[in-house]
Every structure is written in structure tokens, then in C-alpha cells.
């Protein structure tokens, strides 16, 4: 069971994620940054529910869909804006990360592979490292159902299970790899069906319910910390926006979108918290105002950032 305090924290974090993205989309509309963004609207419960099951010193390799995982792990949101605005305030110091290459080592964010499925071997390596150094850190590796078809998943899943590495494979199954529906790319009904082939537990959870995701990942984290090895969790979710901004979305119906929008965690979750007496309507509204203000302040701070000197492109090629 997710505690009431944790539920409030999950809701607040989903708000931060959604409002941050909303503000970013305004930056894109204003032409302040490129539209190279894969919006995460709709998938907040998966990103936040999973990441909030980690400790600060645990590792995160996130995927390209939204920045809910990176935000929930503790990357400062003004710096994330800085990355999109291409200023020296960004985590990459003005190199311009866009969605892809944000990292924040002090909270365990190891970054992202720009090639899909490139994170699998790195996650297994980080898990190997945690065990080698005799810590109880775990690694959370996000990917989509599309990337699960990469051969790298096979290699990494095999060694992680073989050596009982502390890795949680978190598949956010949103039904489409760009335009191709899951039924046309996956040989089995669920990605989690593949877990048994590696001798690890595979679980399917409601990815629109942050409690369900949080609880499933908490179990996997405990298992990983105890030295019992990796788990595969498949969170069933949906992206409300296109694969990219401007995606014509000819591959899906309005009815399908409406069905999933009916499960919007930003609407259904606070409603449930109020019904269950975990939060009052006043608390929910106060939280919305507080987070909106936090995000706007971060956006304003980020707008004051400066663009780097052209010499920036030659920094950090080598140590």
C-alpha cells in the first residue's frame, strides 16, 4: 500500500512534471527552442510512480518520452529548461541537450542513450558496478515497448539475470513505436511475457495509476537490494500527444485517444485522493498553484541564462 504521504508526494511530482512540460511547450511555440521534443503528457504516472521508488543514490537511465523520470529523480527543473533554451544554465552547460542528453550525477541520473536500446547494456554495467563496489544501489532503466525489440535488451537482460544484478527494467508500453502499433512489432502479447525467458519476474501494471507503478517498482527494488536480481515491469500507458510535436498522428483514432484521456492521471488521481480522504480539494488546488508558481519561477530563471561562447563546442571531448 502506498502511504497517504507518498500519495501526496506522487501527485505533487506529477504536477511538476506536467506543468514543466506545459511551460516547455510554450517555449517551443514561441520559437525559443526546437520542436525536437517527445512529449510525456499522459505518461506521468509511470515515470513518477517508478522513479519515486528509488533512493537519491540509485541510478536512473531514462528514455526519450517526456522528462518525468529525470524530474522525479531530482534534476533541477530550471536547469532542464536551460538545456532546451541552450544556455549555460542547462545541465550540459549550453551544449543543448534537448530531450536526450540530460544528466545529473549527484542524484544518480546517468543520462540517456540517443539510440533506442543503447541504455540496456549501460544499465547492466551500472548494476554490475553497484555490486562490485558492494553497495545496495539499484538501477532503474526506462524504455518503450518498441525499444524492447532491440538485441541489446537480450544481452543486458541475460547478464543481469545470470549475475542477479540490481536492475529494474521499466517498460512504458504506450502502444506505439512512432506509428507502428504494438501488435505489429511484438511477438508476444506483453513485453513482460519475455521476463520468464530470462528467469526474472515480469509484471504488467496499470501505468496510469501512480500507486500501482510505485508499489510494483518498490517490490522490484527490494528484490534488487536483497541481491535477488532484476525484474521486468511493464506499465500500460498512453501518450496524449504525438511522437514528436507536429506528428500528424494518422495512425490512431480520436476514439482511442479519448478512451485513454479518460484515464488521465492528473484528473483521476487527485479525484481518488479526495474520495479516499487522503487530500482535500483545497489541498489539491493549493498544490496546483504552488507548483505552477515553482515552474514559472524556474522558467524565468532559465530565461536569464546566457548562450555559450562558440568555443563551448570544443569542451569536454576528452577528460
Amino acid at each position: 500500500m502506498t502511504s497517504p504521504e507518498k500519495q501526496q508526494e506522487l501527485y505533487r511530482e506529477m504536477l511538476r512534471v506536467a506543468y514543466w512540460e506545459q511551460r516547455l511547450l510554450r517555449f517551443i511555440e514561441e520559437g525559443r527552442t526546437s520542436g525536437f521534443y517527445h512529449a510525456g503528457r499522459g505518461q506521468e504516472a509511470t515515470a513518477v510512480g517508478a522513479t519515486k521508488a528509488l533512493r537519491t543514490d540509485d541510478y536512473l537511465l531514462y528514455d526519450h518520452r517526456g522528462l518525468g523520470h529525470a524530474i522525479a529523480k531530482g534534476v533541477p527543473i530550471d536547469r532542464l529548461f536551460g538545456d532546451f533554451l541552450g544556455t549555460s544554465e542547462g545541465t550540459t552547460g549550453g551544449l543543448g541537450a534537448g530531450l536526450v542528453h540530460i544528466a545529473w550525477p549527484e542524484v544518480g541520473v546517468l543520462g540517456q542513450s540517443g539510440t533506442l536500446g543503447g541504455a540496456f547494456p549501460i544499465a547492466a554495467g551500472a548494476g554490475l558496478s553497484a555490486r562490485y563496489r558492494e553497495t545496495d544501489q539499484v538501477v532503474l532503466c526506462f524504455f518503450g515497448e518498441g525499444a524492447s525489440n532491440r538485441g541489446t535488451f537480450h544481452e543486458a537482460a541475460n547478464v543481469a539475470a545470470l549475475w542477479k544484478l540490481p536492475v529494474i527494467w521499466l517498460c512504458a508500453n504506450n502502444g506505439y513505436s512512432v506509428s507502428v502499433p504494438v501488435a505489429k512489432s511484438l511477438s508476444v502479447p506483453q513485453v513482460a511475457d519475455r521476463a520468464s525467458a530470462y528467469g526474472m519476474p515480469g509484471t504488467v501494471v496499470d501505468g496510469m495509476d501512480p500507486d500501482a507503478v510505485y508499489e510494483a517498482v518498490t517490490v522490484a527494488v527490494q528484490r534488487a537490494r536483497a541481491g535477488e536480481g532484476p525484474s521486468l515491469i511493464e506499465a500500460m500507458t498512453y501518450r496524449f500527444r504525438g511522437h514528436y510535436e507536429g506528428d500528424p498522428q494518422t495512425y490512431r483514432t480520436k476514439e482511442e485517444l479519448a478512451f485513454w484521456e479518460g484515464k488521465d492521471p492528473l484528473i483521476s488521481y487527485p479525484r481518488r485522493l479526495i474520495e479516499e480522504g487522503v487530500a482535500s480539494l483545497e489541498w489539491v488546488e493549493a498544490m496546483q498553484a504552488e507548483v505552477l508558481d515553482e515552474v514559472e519561477q524556474a522558467a524565468q530563471r532559465a530565461l536569464k541564462g546566457v548562450k555559450p561562447d562558440p568555443s563551448r563546442i570544443f569542451q569536454h571531448v576528452y577528460a
Binding site: Y59, L110, T115, G118, G125, A126, Y132, T152, H316, V317
Partner: protein, 325 residues
């Protein structure tokens, strides 16, 4: 000084670094009790235990990418790929991850990873087990690529690679494993990216890598009898490339032959020739010559393989032709 084979020098380098630094570990296919496909890790697991030296499944993407993950999180992995040709299997992990992770994440990480990869033609291993992939990695900004030609260089370069905070691909030539040479006793480090003049001479410069260094030295010996003094430069790697040593030599000799086992197109010899064309054309008394492997996949037959690799005779002829130009 003591005499040691190239293979033993690589083994000694790993043993010394494993002994010195507890964050160093060795992983690869068959590197454990078996001692490696070429015996290079022999005795290491017995001495350092299976936590520090261990076998992996046949999973090159994991080997290289897992090495990156471990390097990002405080360790110094030495990964053995069984053959350098397998770099092609793990190219995303090497070319996109190891080489670029630090840069694309704003310099927030270092990637102290060493990938050891046995390269080169060695008695008919065939087209997928005999290549020299230096050219493939030439454009991998963020990566260092080193190529020892002697036991002493193998020892010193590998130890430097392990201590480097940059990802290093260490290309050891299979055809040199049994080569013996003098190796300094005690701590021996060779800096990465510094060429070595293996023989000094005033008439022609030969820039050569790995096995071709020895072919070049043999050619120099033959030409010395004719009064032609050849300078043999081993860049000891392709990235970074010590162009200063090469340019300084070419400005003295005015003649340049560049030689490696790999074919000409996209190879390191082309890069050297281009650098000399840009920065030292006015010193040249004759055109630059590349003496490289045939532009074909290597044949499986060991007898035919010989015809695809440059010979001492070709180098001798190339040098003579430059002097006669």
C-alpha cells in the same frame, strides 16, 4: 631490462594495474580460468579472483556498453573483445556511447574504459577475424585508439590506458603475440598519443603501425646496405595522432611512405598523407606513397592472405622509387 613476449607484456600490464587499483577489473569471453582465447589473461583469475577477472556470455554489446556503465559509476573496466573485428558488433556502444557519453552529457562524467581487441592477419583467421579497424575508429572523437608494436610499448601503453580517464581502444596485433623484446623492469608507462622513432634516418620517413613497424625496420636494414638511411616512425596509435613528430621527420627527409595492414581507403595512412599535404608539401622532394593492404576482404587461406598484406620488398621498392623520383 628483461626479455618478454608481447603477449606476456600485456598480461603483466593487466596484473600490475589490477594489483595497484581495486577499481580495475577484467571481463570478456573466456578470460577467466581458461586464460583468454589467445592466453593473454592467463593466471589473472587465479591470482585476483573471479570478482576481478571473469567470463561473460557471448555479448559484445553488453561487454562494451556494460563497460561504459561500470566506467560511469566509479570503476575502471578492461574489456577483452575476442577479436578486434567484433568492434563492428559493438559499434553503437563504442562509437556512440563510450566515445560520446562524456561530451553529450556536458562533461559531467568520465569514461575510464579500456577495450582490448586483438587485431590483424595471423595465419588465415579469415575476413571477419583478421582486420585492423583503426580506420573505422579514426572519426570517433572522444575515443583514444592505441596500437603497440613492441612488448615494451604494449606494457607501457596498456598501463597508461587503464589510468586514463578517457575511453581507450587498445588494438593488440595477434601476429605480434610471440614477438620478444626488452622490457624495462619496474614501473613502465608510455604516454598515449606520442610517436616513437624506432630508427633514425635522413633520407626517407616510413610511418608504420604494429606489424608494419617491423617490416619497415627490415626494409631499412636492406636499404642501409645501399647507403639509404630510413627513419621509421611508429605513431603508436591513430587517435590522438602525433603529427608533430611525423611532420618534423618529413621536413628533414623530404620523402614519406606510410604503411599499414588495412587497405588504403579510409585508413590512417590516408590521414597522415593528408596532414603532410596540408602542412609540409613544400618540404617534399617526391610524392607521398601509401603501402597498404589490398582493398579486399582478407582471404581465408593463409597462403593467399600473404598477398593481401604489404611486404618488406614493397617497402624497399617504394623507398627506392622516392629516391629516384
Amino acid at each position: 631490462m628483461s626479455e618478454m613476449s608481447y603477449a606476456r607484456a600485456i598480461n603483466r600490464a593487466m596484473a600490475e594495474e589490477l594489483e595497484r587499483d581495486p577499481t580495475v577489473f577484467v571481463m570478456g569471453q573466456d578470460v577467466g580460468a581458461f586464460g583468454g582465447a589467445f592466453g593473454i589473461t592467463r593466471g589473472l583469475q587465479e591470482r585476483f579472483g573471479s570478482k576481478r577477472v571473469f567470463d561473460t556470455p557471448i555479448s559484445e554489446n553488453f561487454l562494451a556498453g556494460g563497460g561504459v556503465g561500470a566506467a560511469l559509476t566509479g570503476l575502471r573496466p578492461i574489456v577483452e573483445l575476442q577479436y578486434a573485428d567484433f568492434i563492428a558488433i559493438a559499434m553503437d556502444e563504442i562509437y556512440n556511447k563510450a566515445a560520446k557519453w562524456r561530451y553529450m552529457h556536458g562533461g559531467l562524467f568520465t569514461v575510464p574504459l579500456v577495450i582490448r581487441a586483438p587485431e590483424g592477419a595471423a595465419n588465415g583467421a579469415g575476413p571477419e577475424h583478421s582486420q585492423c579497424p583503426e580506420g573505422l575508429l579514426l572519426s570517433a572523437a572522444g575515443l583514444h585508439v592505441v596500437t603497440p608494436s613492441t612488448p615494451a610499448d604494449a606494457l607501457g601503453l596498456l598501463k597508461s590506458a587503464v589510468r586514463s580517464d578517457n575511453p581507450v581502444v587498445f588494438l593488440e596485433h595477434k601476429g605480434l603475440y610471440s614477438l620478444k623484446g626488452e622490457v624495462p623492469d619496474g614501473e613502465h608507462l608510455v604516454p598515449i598519443g606520442v610517436a616513437d622513432i624506432k630508427r633514425a634516418g635522413r633520407d626517407v620517413t616510413i610511418v608504420a603501425w604494429t606489424t608494419m613497424v617491423h617490416q619497415a625496420l627490415a626494409a631499412a636494414e636492406i636499404l642501409a646496405a645501399e647507403g639509404i638511411e630510413v627513419e621509421v616512425i611508429d605513431p603508436r596509435g591513430v587517435r590522438p595522432l602525433d603529427k608533430d613528430t611525423i611532420l618534423e621527420s618529413v621536413r628533414r627527409t623530404g620523402r614519406l611512405v606510410v604503411t599499414h595492414e588495412a587497405p588504403k581507403p579510409g585508413g590512417a595512412a590516408s590521414e597522415v598523407a593528408a596532414i603532410v599535404a596540408e602542412e609540409a608539401t613544400e618540404y617534399l622532394a617526391a610524392p607521398v606513397m601509401r603501402v597498404c593492404g589490398a582493398d579486399i576482404p582478407l582471404p581465408q587461406s593463409a597462403e593467399l592472405e600473404k598477398f593481401a598484406i604489404p611486404s618488406v620488398d614493397e617497402l624497399v621498392k617504394a623507398c627506392r622509387s622516392l629516391l629516384d623520383y
